[in-house]
């Protein structure tokens, strides 16, 4: 029996312990904000938070979330738009939008640890998140915008 918090709610899972968190979220619980992109931690589309840290949910088996607190994009929005989501809208970052929930979750984790990231900090933190539409410049601009506003 695996017990953990999902978006603040006590949750119990008794299925295959090897099932990746991503597929638990998407196919079992129906939380579809985290996206499937590669299945191998290569693209970041499935990024969620485990105890506040950005993780690739496609590569986190359920047995590893025992006792953890998991937050998905749905949990981020529960209290209204997060400043990062607001910045994403103001900068008009998305094109197709498929990778953007992962980008946003990664950016929130970055900004929680580093209130004023440099370009190089952003490169390091965000380079695991692919965007085939190529919105990187706007992702960077939106992160700087949040940092400036929170300063």
């Amino acid at each position: 029996m695996i017990r953990f918090k999902l978006n603040g709610k006590e949750t119990v899972y008794d299925g295959t312990p090897e099932m990746p968190l991503l597929w638990y979220l998407r196919d079992i619980v129906g939380l579809k904000g985290a996206k499937f992109g590669c299945g191998m931690s290569l693209c970041g589309a499935c990024t969620v938070h485990q105890d506040g840290e950005a993780v690739r949910s496609c590569s986190v088996p359920m047995k590893e979330v025992n006792g953890a607190s998991i937050t998905t994009i749905e949990g981020i929005f529960a209290n209204g738009l997060h400043p990062v989501q607001k910045a994403w809208m103001e900068v008009k970052v998305p094109q197709c939008g498929y990778c953007q929930t992962g980008q946003i979750m990664q950016a929130i984790a970055l900004l929680n640890q580093n209130h004023n990231p440099s370009d190089q900090d952003i490169d390091v933190a965000m380079s695991g998140n692919l965007c085939r539409c190529g919105t990187y410049q706007r992702v960077r601009a939106a992160i700087h915008k949040v940092a400036k506003e929170l300063a």
Binding site: P20, F36, G39, G97, Y136
Partner: protein, 745 residues
């Protein structure tokens, strides 16, 4: 017959619109045909809802094009709303299913806005005129005394005002005015067109609520993952699913029959694992043991094939454009320059892999698909199941990227086939490995160019040959020539050269070939603009000055257009004045010539017209001691005529710089014994935050010209401009893609 009809009294909406709703239907045909639409009108006109105004003021506008990130789903309804003078915050967008009554729905070729701009304006303006008429009647005043502001009709003289919602029931009873009685807004009156606006789906995207194909579901649905034949055309000889069936959650396995050539969009065949979640289906698939038959495509090795393409390119090919006599000019002797260029296969790799949900029931199919072309979904499913196209309903979700891949609905046909066998809805999910290995690939290509150089350094003759397996091979097993792709930057060289010949040589396809963002323009622009830069260097001229010299004076370039291209040619002639202007603009904006190139730092330029849009791009590179390349800046000047959503245009061209940098720097698909060598983003690489161009600066030419393409034309100039910059920085000439094949130090 008017293309727009008042269909308020029809009851075809299954009661979703309340009584008193004002509904206009429209028959959509591309704008180029629409200009003479009375002659094109069919005998039976079956308009569907296109624009509906409910008595509560909600304005529903149908989006008949797909949204894959280019903004079409926002841009076209925005044009309707502007001419209607509706309050955009009251607009709801209704995504159309696939249906021929919407006309052509294939969201490709960067043509959604260009093909439907005039009609969207007309539909909106017609609604506005009818709402004004309804108000004028109620107030008993002349219509010309009435004006509108967003979602209201006003009578200024008396200070009266009625909302569109209040007027809807009365407008619903009026006849549609004639086209000539429907004034369009002046440009200065546009509220939304040409202004900053956001994607309609933006709030849903950032909150994770947006529904892509990957997020679609149906009650009782099962999940399928399919092991496809590793080599195109292989068939299942036998298979063993014992281990697969032991995986928890796996229910059964099923075979999918092989395609009948030509493969078109048919499923590839293979073995499907059915499970109660996606992960179980993936796991079950890994445990399958399949014995595959042989295929003639097992002989395909892309390294070998390159040599074949290159040797074909050295031989005379089919002439696709001829000006003067290049042979006579070459025979004169003098200075001759030759060069060969090569580009590999590419995979689309949209972030959302192919996926579809379909249910077969009682001879009919209901499907939810992230597709660029819902009517192709209908046709393909109908074809493989032997049912009528009308019996396939295709709902269109948002697309998590597409880039041409999602014009081809093989995965939707797989879902429908499996659903028929299982008697329940099926969701087919392709893994990233499936996506990269079984794509409809961007074609591999070889180009040969030759020029005779006059005393002034300018070419007196220019010969260009291109050779690649054509997209036509997907539809015709005998297709060897790329006849339909010559207009993509090959039979329309906009240079002022007295002797010019463009040729195309034959090539066979051994993998599925398909449209890829910007299509053949990618390799054509690469060859032409690399060669132009080589000639500028040979002539020791500045590349921008030399390019402007090649383009020559402002003029309309005479080209041979096919009968079906005549309308387009009249409306969008190849105008070298516009091409010159974007080259001059990007040179000025980038500060061209102000900082010298060399010592690992350089600038390069390319200017290419595609999808009727003129684009010039300057790339700045820095190459360090280890040969690593950074792109601090890209500057792009764009003339795409009238622009609906300028910020979205900037976003598309910023994205195109990254897309172009991916293929120029990193991406390639290679094939060994018919099997694709790459699997995932580890070996099929794309630019990331740290390797993408850092700043892309987009400049849009103010223009009243008809709208042209936006989604694709940003890509082609990037690779040649980047390679030209590398040459300026290091002296190394790059003649093959991607750069990762070359060692810069």
């Amino acid at each position: 017959m008017n293309n727009i009809q008042n269909v308020s009294r029809r009851r075809f909406l299954k009661g979703s619109l309340a009584a008193g709703t004002f509904v206009l239907g429209a028959r959509l045909v591309p704008d180029l045909l629409w200009a003479n639409s009375s002659s094109a009108a069919p005998a039976v006109f079956q308009p569907d809802v296109f624009l509906a105004i409910s008595s509560d003021g909600t304005v529903t506008i149908v989006a008949h094009r797909s949204e894959m990130g280019c903004g079409s789903r926002t841009a076209l309804p925005l044009v309707v709303a502007d001419e209607l003078d509706a309050d955009w915050s009251k607009v709801v967008i209704d995504q159309a299913i696939g249906d021929p009554k919407y006309g052509e729905q294939d969201t490709d070729g960067s043509h959604s806005v260009r093909s439907f701009f005039a009609q969207m304006r007309q539909i909106g303006a017609t609604g506005r005129v009818m709402l004004i008429a309804a108000a004028a009647k109620q107030w008993n005043v002349p219509e010309k005394e009435c004006a509108t502001e967003p979602s209201f009709v006003l009578h200024k003289a008396s200070g009266r005002k009625l909302s569109y919602g209040e007027l809807a029931p009365a407008a619903a009873k009026l006849a549609v005015p004639k086209k000539e009685d429907v004034p369009l807004k002046r440009r200065s009156e546009w509220r939304y067109i040409g202004r900053d606006n956001s994607l309609f789906d933006l709030p849903d995207i950032v909150t994770g609520k947006a529904t892509y194909g990957m997020d679609a579901s149906m009650p009782g649905m099962v999940y399928a993952s399919i092991e496809h034949p590793p080599v195109l055309g292989q068939k299942v000889k036998s298979y063993d699913d014992k281990e697969a069936l032991k995986v928890g959650g796996v229910k059964q396995t099923l075979t999918i029959p092989p395609f009948k050539p030509p493969h078109q969009f048919q499923p590839l065949g293979g073995v499907a694992v059915i499970a109660d979640n996606t992960w179980a289906a993936f796991q079950g698939r890994r445990a399958l043991k399949i014995d595959w038959d042989t295929s003639p495509n097992s002989v395909y090795n892309s390294d070998q094939f390159r040599k074949t393409l290159e040797s074909t390119a050295r031989q005379p090919g089919k002439v696709v454009r001829n000006v003067g006599n290049v042979d006579a000019e070459f025979a004169k002797g003098g200075r001759i320059i030759e060069a060969e260029y090569y580009t590999p296969h590419l995979a689309h790799a949209s972030m959302e892999p192919p996926v579809a949900v379909a249910e077969y029931r009682d001879g009919k199919v209901l499907a939810w698909v992230p597709t660029q072309n819902p009517q192709a979904v209908q046709e393909t499913i109908a074809g493989v199941l032997g049912i009528k196209k009308e019996d396939v309903t295709c709902h269109v979700t948002l697309l998590g990227g597409a880039f041409g891949r999602k014009s081809k609905p093989d995965q939707a046909a797989e879902a429908a086939l499996l659903s028929k066998q299982l008697g329940k809805p099926v969701k087919v999910v392709w893994s990233r490995e499936d996506d990269i290995q079984f794509d409809f690939f961007h074609s591999v290509a070889a180009m040969y160019l030759k020029a005779a150089i006059g005393p002034d350094g300018k070419p007196t003759a220019w010969l260009q040959r291109t050779v690649y397996p054509p997209i036509g091979s997907t539809f015709d097993v005998n297709a060897k020539y790329a006849d339909d792709e010559m207009g993509l930057g090959w039979n329309n060289l906009p240079f002022d050269i007295p002797n010019h010949r463009a040729e195309n040589g034959p090539a066979d396809a051994h993998v599925r070939i398909g449209w890829f963002r910007s299509v053949a323009n990618i390799y054509h622009a690469f060859a032409i603009h690399s060669f132009a830069d080589e000639l500028a260097n040979a002539a020791t001229k500045d590349p921008v000055e030399y390019l402007l010299d090649l383009i020559g004076p402002p003029r309309i370039v005479p080209l041979d257009y096919k009968p079906d291209e005549q309308e387009e040619a009249k409306r969008y002639p190849l105008d070298t004045g516009r091409l010159r202007r974007v080259v001059e603009m990007v040179a000025e904006k980038s500060g061209w010539g102000k900082r010298p190139s060399g010592k690992g730092h350089g600038f390069g330029i390319a200017g290419h017209r595609s999808f009727l849009t003129y684009v010039a791009t300057v790339v700045e590179v820095e190459v360090d001691g280890q040969g690593r390349v950074q792109i601090p800046n890209v500057w792009t000047a764009v003339d795409s005529g009238t622009v609906v959503a300028p910020d979205n245009v900037r976003n598309q061209f910023e994205g195109a710089a990254s897309f172009g940098a991916s293929l120029a720097l990193l991406s390639e698909i290679t094939v060994t014994n018919g099997v694709v060598d790459q699997n995932n983003f580890s070996d099929y690489q794309l630019v990331r935050m740290d390797t993408a161009p850092k700043h892309t600066n987009v400049y849009i030419v103010e223009s009243d010209a008809p709208p042209a393409g936006v989604g694709e034309p940003g890509v082609p100039p990037v690779a040649p401009a980047l390679y030209n910059a590398i040459h300026a920085a290091t002296g190394r000439r790059i003649r093959e893609m991607p750069l990762s094949r070359a060692k810069l130090v």
